[in-house]
Structure formats: structure tokens, C-alpha cells
């Protein structure tokens, strides 16, 4: 981190953003009290996954794309499966879809617990990192790690292992877990649901900067339930479209400073992730999560990005409760996977990764070879909105010292839990006050 003054100008730089997934930096330039430049730079090497998929079998897409991220591999696997199955003209069997949703609940639990407790909460205590927070609040960090462990355990039972699960395939699963295997998850999940409720109380007691964003929220729209693994795409701006229509709406541009693409809809930034999901789907949460949100004083929509940690905690309650419901209603799919016949076509798949909407599009030839691929990850979609948040935070925090303002900027980036590894396919802060 560096900051300095050149005449009336102030410059803030963070050359290696901490507690975000991947590598990136942040640069802010303030001249005569006006923010003249904000740049979130992603310099993790681009991964060229989309090009790597071309020429590969349609059956390989879930395993190849799961390697994009170690935190949200299920998101990649299931968006890929959805898109390939769409291309083949197959809708998933209800029991397979329920098992996928349960697997995804595991990923939400481990990812949200990781972000809330180890990456985001230290900011609200003035701690440098999770180690310092653990030395200060042992009980809280132990609770977070217990939650993460339950999420990992769900992924191990259903996916075969927590990182890059191996049991997911196009059409369903290689093997469906038995009822007994899933019943063994009930006691830990009931404890996790209680811990998640405690998490909501804990994070809602934090001291939040009074900031309100002017967001165009974009998220999947759930049917009767909070969205995870499928749905149309909706926005607070008013659109409600199919995945194919959404694919056409999202325009991505490359800027020289970043190895991630930057997405716009109708030429404007937008936001995906917990704030967006909650804004568009709060009414679809189960009663226990709605109660927790009400008790926490969380309005809907919530446009204070610093309160995203509260929304994430409410989603943690939801994910634990939803996992328990799915286990109670579990019917092993038989067979565990549907048979697909490839055809020359284009398919779309989108799911709600913990940090936002993830869209895949594949074009197949008649033999099932992938001829083109498009992957639109959450962080690419959120990058411009994060820059807008930074501009707002700096403009409203110019009275702060350079060190405090730099810290506030880092926090503003972490509000959105960016996954640079996914997008670079990014973080350091530099603020210039001139």
C-alpha cells in the first residue's frame, strides 16, 4: 500500500489487494478534492479457458471449467452442465436437480463462511487478518471454521471431495449418495443453521459506514424458492429474460490494465451477488432466514455495500435450512445421470455462484465437439460497479487520513468478495490526491 500528496493532489495505491481471491491492485487519483481516476486492475494471468474448451468433447466442460476456481468449482460445473444439457435439449430430472442444489448449498456454506469470518470480518475489528481476529475473538472464528467444515463435508459426501468435486457429470452424477449418507449430515447441519443464525446477529452488530449505492441489481429469479441452480435472469431495472436473451444483453470489453473483461448491460455497470439476489428474491427466502433478516434490521433491498456481510449471513441461514429440507425430501435419482445425445446447437446455463451470477454458453457441432464457449463470471460483471463504489467511498471519505481512506477502499472491494482467479481469467490499492 502506498499513498502520497503531490501539491493539492492525493494518490492512493494498494499494489496487492489482500483478502480477496486472486491477484489485483487498486489505484485512486484525487485532484482538488475530486476523484479523477479509479482503476481496479486485475493482473492475474488470463487463463484462456474459453479457447481451451474449443475442440473438446461436450462431456469435458464441467471438469475443465471447475478448475477455474478452487472456491466455487460447483458453480462452474453446474453452469457448464446446464448449458450442455440445454444444447442437447434435455431438462434435468427433478431428483438430479435437487441433488445438485444440495451440493451447491455446501459450496455456498463453505464460501460464505470463509468470506464472512476470514476475509471480511477482520475489517470491522481493525484487524490485519484472520489470524489477528482469531487471537481477538476465538469463539467467533471457531464458529466460522465449523460452518466452513460443514459446507466442505456436504461437498465431500455428494461431490466426492470438497475441492474440484469429481462426482459431477453432464446429465447428473456418477453415483447418487444413499439416504443414510445424507442423513448423517442432518445433525451437523442443524448445528450449522444455529451457528448461521448467531452469525447474522454477530455481523449485524458491526459498525457500518453510511453508504448507499445506486445499483442495477441483476440475479437469477427463483420460482418458488431462492435462486441457486437455475432460473430466468431479472434486474431491478426491470428486465426479466431468458438465459439466451441475457447472453445477448451482456457486452464485455477488454481494458489494457486488466486481464479480466469488464461487462456492461445497455452500456452501464450492474451488480450481481448477494445484494442483488436478496434485492430480487428476499420474498423467496424461507421464514427462518426472513426472520433473521428482519431481526438484523436488514431492509430489502439493501443498497449499503458494507452490509453485504449481513446479507451473506442471511444466505448462510438459508443454505443450511435449504440443505436440511433437501435431505429430508431426498429421493436418490435412478439412474444417477440422464443420457444425452449431442446435436448441432447452442446452449445456455446460469447459476448463482456465492459471489454472483455465472453464465456459460456453448456451441456444439453434431458430434458434441465444443466449437465456441463463453464464460461470464461474477467478478467481470461486478468490476465496474466496484470501481463506482470506490469512487463514492473516496468522495465521501476525503476527510479521512490517507491510511484510513486506503483501508476503507480495500474494504469496499472486499464488500463484493471478488474472485480474481475466476475473472481473469485480480488486487493492490493506489490512491493519488493531486
Amino acid at each position: 500500500m502506498t499513498h502520497g500528496t503531490k501539491g493539492a493532489d492525493r494518490v492512493f495505491s494498494v499494489e496487492g489487494l489482500a483478502r480477496v481471491e486472486g491477484e489485483g491492485s487498486l489505484h485512486v487519483h484525487v485532484s482538488d478534492g475530486i476523484v479523477t481516476d479509479v482503476a481496479l486492475t486485475i493482473f492475474e494471468p488470463p487463463r484462456f479457458f474459453e479457447a481451451m474448451l474449443v475442440g473438446r468433447s461436450y462431456l469435458e466442460a464441467p471438469d475443465i471449467t471447475s478448475r477455474i476456481c478452487g472456491i466455487c468449482p460447483v458453480a462452474y460445473q453446474l453452469s457448464a452442465c446446464g448449458a450442455i444439457e440445454d444444447a442437447c435439449g434435455i431438462a434435468p430430472d427433478e431428483r438430479i436437480e435437487a441433488l445438485r442444489r444440495l451440493l451447491y448449498c455446501g459450496e455456498w456454506i463453505q464460501s460464505h463462511a470463509l468470506h464472512i469470518y476470514l476475509l471480511h470480518a477482520p475489517d470491522f475489528f481493525g484487524c490485519t487478518d484472520a489470524v489477528e481476529l482469531a487471537e481477538r475473538d476465538r469463539v467467533a472464528v471457531a464458529r466460522g471454521l465449523s460452518l466452513k467444515k460443514v459446507g466442505n463435508h456436504i461437498m465431500e459426501v455428494i461431490g466426492g471431495r470438497a475441492i474440484h468435486p469429481v462426482n459431477v457429470k453432464v446429465g447428473g452424477f456418477y453415483r447418487a449418495p444413499t439416504r443414510a449418507e445424507l442423513r448423517a449430515l442432518i445433525d451437523p447441519l442443524e448445528q450449522a443453521r444455529d451457528d448461521a443464525l448467531t452469525t447474522v446477529k454477530w455481523v449485524s452488530s458491526f459498525d457500518f459506514p453510511d453508504v448507499t449505492g445506486d445499483y442495477n441489481f441483476v440475479a437469477l429469479l427463483g420460482g418458488d424458492r431462492y435462486p441457486i441452480e437455475r432460473g430466468r435472469v431479472g434486474s431491478s431495472g426491470g428486465f426479466d429474460v431468458t438465459l439466451g436473451e441475457y447472453d445477448a444483453l451482456v457486452v464485455e470489453d477488454h481494458v489494457a490494465r486488466s486481464t479480466a473483461l469488464q461487462a456492461r448491460i445497455n452500456g452501464k455497470p450492474y451488480l450481481t451477488g448477494p445484494l442483488a439476489r436478496y434485492a430480487l428474491n428476499a420474498g423467496r427466502l424461507p421464514e427462518i432466514a426472513r426472520d433473521a433478516a428482519r431481526t438484523a434490521g436488514l431492509g430489502s433491498p439493501c443498497a449499503n455495500p458494507f452490509k453485504s456481510i449481513v446479507v451473506r449471513a442471511v444466505e448462510l441461514v438459508f443454505a443450511c435450512d435449504e440443505a436440511l429440507r433437501l435431505i429430508a425430501e431426498y429421493e436418490p435419482p435412478e439412474p444417477p445421470a440422464m443420457k444425452l445425445t449431442p446435436r448441432e446447437s447452442v446452449g445456455y446455463g446460469a447459476t448463482e455462484a456465492p459471489r454472483g451470477l455465472l453464465l456459460h454458453r456453448y456451441a456444439l457441432d453434431a458430434n458434441g465437439t465444443i466449437v465456441s464457449a463463453r464464460i461470464v463470471p461474477p467478478t467481470s460483471q461486478n468490476q465496474l460497479t466496484i470501481e463506482e463504489d470506490l469512487r463514492r467511498v473516496v468522495e465521501e471519505g476525503l476527510q479521512l487520513s490517507d491510511a484510513d481512506l486506503t483501508h476503507r477502499c480495500e474494504q469496499a472491494v472486499r464488500n463484493h468478495d471478488p474472485c480474481i482467479s475466476c475473472a481473469a481469467h485480480f488486487l493492490d490499492l493506489s490512491v493519488e490526491r493531486m
Binding site: 491477484e23 478452487g70 476470514l118 489470524v131 482469531a134 476465538r138 471457531a142 471454521l145 465449523s146
Partner: protein, 160 residues
């Protein structure tokens, strides 16, 4: 390998990626050691030290095996016991700020802060030379895997 006497709860954890040649050495050693006794739990393979949390809790002895690149001769084996009185290096701690970089020292400090740390932690470091894409260990590292497993089993016998 023969069954061995060992402390009441022993876990071994290999860290690495077996699709990056010598980086898979830790995983191979963990497999060999855990196969020597059904009472030794292999909690790997782990992609990063953070994954140790929740898996090594309250163990009497945790052995973490990883491939390193320090400039030593390929195949060199080092056994290092991490004691609480040891001052972690700045470099080791600074890695605690990113999920990509929470180092073993940071993870151990978190575990100690929440009273879930193993009683003893021993790191077994094997010097590697090839970390490019591909399966299989270089000959020096392959020999070191067998030697490291034997040294760990002897360590367990001494600790019993």
C-alpha cells in the same frame, strides 16, 4: 510396511498437486505413511494449508508434507518441528492476508488461537526440481518419497 506404534492420534497431510510433477511428492509420502497403519489418518490431499483447519484439530501429532524449492539439491529431505515459541518469519505471516496465500504458520496460529491446534506439528519438506504440467516424480524426488516415509515412521515409533 509394518504396522507401527505411534501417538494416539496421528494425522498426515500431503499438500500439493500431483498433476504438477514433483509437487505431488507430499501426497505420495502421505499415502505411504497412512498405509503403514490403519490408525494413521490421511487428511489430504490438500491444495493449500487453510484446508488443514478442521482436519487436524486436536491431533497429538500432525505431519504436513510438502514439496519445496529452496535451492537445495533435488530430493533433499528436511524435518522441521513447528514450536509455539518459534517466531514466524514476516514472510510466513504476511501470507495470511489472502485465501491464496494463508501460509502454514498463519493456519497454525489460527488453530492455536481457537484451541484446536495439534499438540505437535512436524513439517516434512522435500526439495523438488520439476513443477511443470505432468504426472510423475523426477527420480531424485521419487527416491526421497520412500526415504521420507521411512523417516516419518521412525519418528512415529520414537514418539510412541
Amino acid at each position: 510396511m509394518s504396522d507401527v506404534s505411534h501417538p494416539s492420534r496421528v494425522v498426515v497431510a500431503g499438500i500439493g498437486n500431483e498433476y504438477r510433477q514433483d509437487d505431488g511428492a507430499g501426497l505420495a509420502v502421505a499415502r505411504l505413511v497412512s498405509s503403514s497403519s490403519p490408525e494413521i489418518g490421511d487428511v489430504g490431499p490438500l491444495g493449500e494449508p487453510l484446508d488443514l483447519l478442521g482436519r487436524w484439530d486436536d491431533a497429538d501429532l500432525a505431519i504436513v508434507i510438502d514439496t519445496v524449492r529452496s535451492g537445495a539439491q533435488s530430493g533433499t529431505i528436511r524435518l522441521i518441528e513447528l514450536r509455539e515459541s518459534d517466531d514466524p518469519t514476516e514472510e510466513a505471516v504476511s501470507g495470511a492476508t489472502s485465501t491464496h496465500g494463508i501460509g502454514l504458520i498463519g493456519v497454525l496460529r489460527i488453530a492455536r488461537a481457537i484451541n484446536r491446534a495439534p499438540h505437535r506439528v512436524v513439517v516434512v519438506a522435500i526439495e523438488g526440481s520439476e513443477f511443470g504440467l505432468g504426472v510423475g516424480l523426477t527420480p531424485e524426488v521419487k527416491r526421497a518419497v520412500t526415504d521420507a516415509a521411512q523417516q516419518i515412521i521412525e519418528l512415529l515409533e520414537e514418539a510412541a
